[in-house]
């Protein structure tokens, strides 16, 4: 799995950080998403897919075959 984020679409909600704190964080100054792990381990795949699906800014993409 490969995770990518689009900073321009991020609204700073932090939903992804609440779901998967090992994969996502937010910048202190503007709340924009920080991708901590673009190839998360399999145990995290379910929660990362959920983070991508519920991201209110549609800023997270997941590529399954990478």
């Amino acid at each position: 799995m490969k995770v990518t984020v689009d900073e321009a679409k991020c609204c700073g909600a932090g939903t992804c950080v609440m779901l998967a704190p090992d994969v996502f964080d937010q910048r202190d100054d503007d709340g924009i998403v920080i991708l901590l792990d673009e190839h998360p381990g399999e145990a995290l795949h379910g929660v990362v897919r959920e983070a991508a699906s519920v991201c209110p800014g549609v800023a997270i993409s997941v590529s399954e075959d990478a």
């Binding site: 609204c11 700073g12 909600a13 932090g14 939903t15 950080v17 609440m18 937010q26 910048r27 202190d28 503007d30 709340g31 379910g46 897919r49 959920e50 699906s53 519920v54 991201c55 209110p56 800014g57 549609v58």
Partner: protein, 393 residues
Amino acid sequence: MTAPSDVLVVGASAAGLATVEALRRKGYAGRVTVLGAEAHLPYDRPPLSKQVLGGSWLPGQAQLRTPATLSALDTEFILGDPAVRLDAGARTVHTAAGRTLTADAVVLATGLRPRTLPGQDGLAGVHVLRTLDDTLALRTDLAPGRRVVVVGDGVLGAEIAATVCAAGVPVALAGPQPAPLAYQFGPLAAGLLAELHAARGVELRLGSAVTGLAADHGRVAGVRLASGEVLAADVVVVAFGAAPATEWLAGSGVVCDNGVVCDSRCRAADGIYAAGDVARWHHEGLDALLRLENRTNATEQAVAVAGNILGEDRPYMPVPYFWTHQFDARIHVHGTLSADAEVSVVEGDPGEGRFVAQYRRDGKVTGVLGWNMPKQARLRRQDIAGAVLAGRT
């Protein structure tokens, strides 16, 4: 409980799409159909009043998923065909084009319809902003030299005024509150918002309700205020609230009262669920019926509904959250604010344009507002969850 053999989702926006994604993510392999009233593939609404109206995004950039991602969901999307009737007992939906769709589980996710002013139908120059087509029609009408009046001093109205103003079009904002969002934010944050709008050139005509429209030869000419004054306008945007789109559920067997009334599992009847703006469900933590009109709820509630369709049997108990961007202010709200709450700044400094404010009632933290401090506001959610959602497990 066994999983249903097929699921029908009525509504192809954020809540409808998120329901399908959550079903598949949770391993559901049955048949899924999504019925949408609009002809467009699922798109996102928050950018409509900002990036799409302002022209920094092309309409396609508001699409929620690429066609390839949608196709991987193995779901039939029937678009451009509104639902017109539900038989809840039979779990059958009839559509405008004459389709009859039946499924073991039906999800109602039909969203909202904007409220309108008397006499606005058929009057040129008057707009609402709910759909992509609404947004494009408004953009087209923002010709140079025209003066815009936005009716509605809530989140949507204030965002539209900011976007129109930033695009260089003269705009006035009208509504009954003393400042934009004052009934919700209270004097401190709403006052800052009023200062920001005024400083950037929005003409604030607040404190007087809008009673109707003035017209001239079939085109809008102004907005009438309760004070008797008429604000001249070439273009009017009506953005003073929306009602759940439940007309089509009359006689269906599900209870509609300011939304589809649901239990704590977001279930309106046997095999019938509701998600998103249209759902009014029993929040067990607050012990109240709640309906949330925000983007985050659309997806979070959809996840809960998908789980309950598959037998998880869990109550849906979110901490409400929304954000709004107006000019350079990025405001994030967790929990519930009210104008009469006791407000204290717990981080940052309003004078410097960055702060987090905590809202308390009866000594308990009910909400947090972050002004250009999204991360810090999110970290304060814990205070709310503990105090307001005492029943949360």
